[in-house]
């Protein structure tokens, strides 16, 4: 009897482990689990139902994935040079990476957010922040190219960005690190009370998307971690989580974790906007770059701006309040109705949810617990909507499915927990592999989430794929959230550190996607729109080659009269007017990269020949049956040679 009991127990344990293992590997049990492959299978030639725009983190890029297949479609260079197509190497695109610090060919891209109209995704642009050298970029969802980057002055560690208001009125750039404003030489130990945290509101032109810094709110010297716009009833407000309200300046892992509660800063931006529109705030000298692509000329122009409007929050009473939130909150997420503001205290055992209605009520009745540098602090109990008790360890980020449920990631316990808004009860939990950061539900930062899929972006990959040495791509995991229980569907690698993502149903953008640039609309000053316009022109030591590309030849393909010490500008126009027929250009000894030139586009590569000889150039993108024949030569003569410039194509036939 005892033995039977023992073996039953043993069997029971075995079953428990096995089923646990099963749920880990395939995401579900029973008969239904074997149709998971069908749920992510997109047959050859079929299209995915959703686009996902996943930040590349330290790759400085933005990658485009399809859901539910998890296939990567494109890597869009944003803050980093990209030899694949010459972004940041070509003369036209180099200005996009200009800053007040000069040319910066890298950044840490973090939080993409898709433009909205009336609180719903409109699929026109994706905004994304550069974290290291504070910048905000706008990527077109028509051309899938970076069209604009604006640098953010008085800022450092542009982390609580780039989230947008519900009509894309503003994209915010909140500083993670407070710094002296204006920057100056001062002892670091005097941080407290002297450093400032700039929360920057960048206006977006409703038609063209062009960005301009409208104002900066100079907040106390906390660390502004993440942010989210209010929506619906809380439209007009913006919420920022903070840590280090201790204003410590050393060993922050200890010294910034002393206060039991930090704050969520609630900013009534409409109120500040009104103040600014009436001439409020002060113009302050600044130096920051504004880089803008002109789609007609295909050229980026970089302009240095010299001043910025700053607002001291104490100047605008009733515009800024602080909501006490336990233990170094990280994520700051607002539900689709705009009522609930979830502050995930990453060191807290519970999840704290604030109520917007209660917040307004407390403000109305002036129930303040005190103030910080003149900014009123509300009572924790007065604004608390509820808390989810002991849901997991290390809560980070929350998204919503639009059906009254919230999904929160737990970094330490490596899981996603589904809970119900209002009742605060935990409904489901699923493990992630491993150490999950952000999660995304398509439309998650809008009034209308598309609650069919959710994907988690994990920081640690370990044994999920074939090992490839100590450094691995990160992993993302796709869950079906259409039922009561989450179901793990797919596990796919992502490029760089996939920090956060924005996702959208494909039909909102795919019809508007550009297929090629119209040659007739090309206004590039160095374009050649047909082979008759090709030429080579000397201007002192500069040689300008006006070249065209078409399947399968360059025009011209032989160039003579170039000398050592010249600077040769290859201005190359792709004459094709056909979908997906770019041509490449590479030349031996170029100290930069190749070019990939889209149909109808003009791009310029500089080449400084250093050795006498006859040097080949060729097309890098396999373009046709005679791609391999798409080549040419440049003859480079000695410095003192008197060989005249000449060029030709097809003369010996």
């Amino acid at each position: 009897m005892k033995n039977i009991l023992k073996s039953t127990l043993f069997l029971g344990l075995l079953v428990a482990f096995t089923s646990c293992n099963n749920s880990g590997k395939s995401g579900g049990n029973g008969a239904l689990s074997n149709n998971i492959a069908e749920k992510v299978y997109v047959a050859p030639g079929e299209h995915d139902s959703h686009y996902a725009f996943i930040s590349g983190g330290y790759s400085g890029n933005l990658t485009v994935y399809g859901l539910p297949s998890g296939r990567m479609f494109k890597e869009i260079p944003v803050f980093s040079q990209f030899p694949t197509n010459g972004y940041g190497y070509s003369e036209e695109t180099k200005p996009m990476l200009e800053t007040s610090y000069g040319f910066i060919p890298w950044d840490d891209s973090h939080h993409p957010d898709i433009s909205q109209t009336n609180g719903e995704l409109d699929g026109r642009w994706v905004f994304i922040n550069g974290n290291n050298t504070p910048r905000i970029a706008r990527v077109s969802l028509r051309s899938f190219e970076t069209e604009e980057i604006i640098e953010v002055p008085n800022s450092a560690g542009n982390h609580s960005s780039s989230f947008i208001t519900e009509n894309t009125e503003y994209v915010v750039a909140g500083t993670r690190f407070s710094v002296p404003v204006p920057q100056r030489d001062m002892p670091i130990k005097d941080y407290k009370g002297n450093f400032k945290g700039a929360l920057t509101f960048i206006s977006v032109d409703p038609e063209h998307g062009h960005m301009d810094i409208k104002f900066q709110v100079l907040m106390p010297g906390f660390n502004y971690d993440l942010s989210h716009p209010g929506r619906g009833k809380s439209h007009g407000w913006f919420f920022f989580t903070t840590y280090n309200t201790e204003e410590a300046n050393t060993l922050l892992e200890v010294n910034a974790s002393q206060n039991d509660k930090d704050f969520i800063a609630a900013i009534n931006w409409k109120k500040i906007e009104e103040y600014v529109n009436n001439g409020g705030g002060t113009m302050m000298p600044a130096n920051y770059a504004h880089n803008l692509l002109d789609e007609a000329t295909h050229i980026v122009t970089s302009t240095m701006k010299k001043e910025v409007r700053v607002v001291n929050p104490s100047e605008v009473p009733g515009a800024v309040y602080l909501l006490p939130t336990p233990k170094s909150p990280h994520g700051c997420d607002v539900d689709p109705s705009g009522e609930y503001i979830v502050g995930n205290g990453k060191l807290s055992a519970n999840l704290t949810v604030h109520s917007f209605t209660k917040m307004l009520d407390a403000i109305e009745n002036e129930k303040f617990a005190g103030d910080a540098y003149g900014i009123p602090i509300l009572n924790f109990e007065d604004v608390l909507a509820g808390s989810v008790e002991q849901p997991g360890l290390g809560p980070l980020h929350t998204e919503f499915d639009g059906k009254g449920n919230a999904y929160t990631t737990f970094f330490i316990s490596s899981e996603v927990v589904k809970w119900k808004l209002g009742t605060w009860e935990v409904i489901d939990r699923k493990p992630t592999y491993y150490s999950v950061g952000h999660l995304t539900i398509p439309g998650g930062n809008s009034r209308k989430p598309f609650g069919k899929y959710m994907f988690a972006m994990n920081k640690i990959t370990k044994d999920r794929y074939l090992p490839v040495g100590p450094e691995m791509e990160h992993s993302a995991q796709l869950y079906d959230i259409s039922g009561d229980k989450m179901e793990l569907l797919l596990d796919f690698p992502t490029h760089g550190e996939p920090h956060y993502a924005a996702a959208i149903p494909a039909e909102i953008i795919k019809e508007n996607s550009l297929k090629f640039y119209k040659l007739a609309d090309n206004k590039h000053p160095h374009k050649a729109t047909n082979e008759g316009e090709t030429k080579v022109v000397r201007d002192g030591k500069n040689v300008h080659v006006y070249m065209t590309l078409i399947r399968s030849h360059f025009a011209p393909d032989n160039i003579e009269g170039v000398k050592v010490g010249d600077k040769v500008y290859f201005h190359i126009t792709n004459l094709e007017q056909d979908f997906d027929v770019p041509h490449g250009f590479a030349i031996i000894g170029a100290n930069n990269a190749e070019l990939l030139i889209a149909p109808g586009q003009t791009r310029t590569l500089t080449w400084e020949p250093k050795q006498v000889g006859v040097w080949p150039f060729y097309c890098t993108d396999f373009c046709s049956a005679l791609h391999q024949e798409m080549q040419g030569y440049v003859r480079v003569s000695p410095k003192d040679s008197n060989i005249e410039l000449s060029w030709s194509l097809g003369d010996d036939i």
């Binding site: 056909d578 046709s624 036939i653």
Partner: protein, 206 residues
């Protein structure tokens, strides 16, 4: 006879559709062209179905040494065809009006139809000749040269009507709206003749 004459006029007027709509359409699809390239053949010139289709067809055709697709001023047909069609419309309408006024015999309706048929067949014959020239009169320096099993150079002549496989391309050639309107118009003139005949027989009986 009045009804028949009205139908005769309508039938002739339907030919005016040729000034607005293409007579014929040729579509070229291939694995790398999931959205096929296409040309619409009008009585006064050839146009791409999409803006850059002709440029892309010419770009592909240069590999096999085909001439570029002719511009309107490169073929006499494109200036003559509109005149012929317009003449036939005017002639048809005049015949119809005179028929309505009972000044002419219904047999002229058939005469118009037969004349139009002859002209149409001549047009088709001419068009087919052009297709043969276009598809077989190739540049001797062509990059790609393919011969038939018997050693003769392969012709890339698109079909006059229907479907044909040309190398990697699936080519479909069919009448288009203008062509269909013309066929309906011609059919109507035939009906006009038949109705005129019926009316005339009834009159004779009475």
């Amino acid at each position: 006879m009045k009804k028949a004459s009205i139908i005769m006029i309508i039938g002739s007027l339907l030919l005016l559709g040729l000034f607005k709509f293409p007579l014929w359409n040729i579509m070229l699809g291939a694995p790398q062209y999931p959205e096929p390239l296409g040309m619409n053949i009008y009585i006064d010139g050839i146009e791409g179905v999409e803006e850059f289709d002709l440029q892309n067809i010419d770009g592909l055709n240069h590999y096999i040494g085909m001439k570029t697709i002719p511009k309107p001023d490169e073929m006499w047909e494109f200036s003559v065809f509109p005149k012929v069609v317009l003449t036939m419309v005017i002639l048809g309408v005049i015949i119809g009006i005179f028929g309505y006024l009972e000044k002419i015999n219904y047999k002229l309706f058939l005469g118009w139809f037969l004349l139009m048929s002859v002209l149409g067949i001549l047009g088709m014959y001419d068009f087919n000749n052009w297709l043969i020239d276009y598809g077989s009169n190739l540049d001797p320096n062509a990059i790609i040269k393919i011969t038939n099993p018997d050693g003769t150079p392969m012709s890339y002549k698109p079909p006059l009507l229907g479907f044909q496989k040309l190398l990697n391309f699936d080519v479909t050639s069919l009448p288009h709206i203008g062509g269909y309107l013309m066929f309906i118009g011609m059919f109507l003139t035939l009906i006009a003749f038949w109705m005129g005949r019926k009316a005339s027989l009834r009159q004779t009986k009475a």
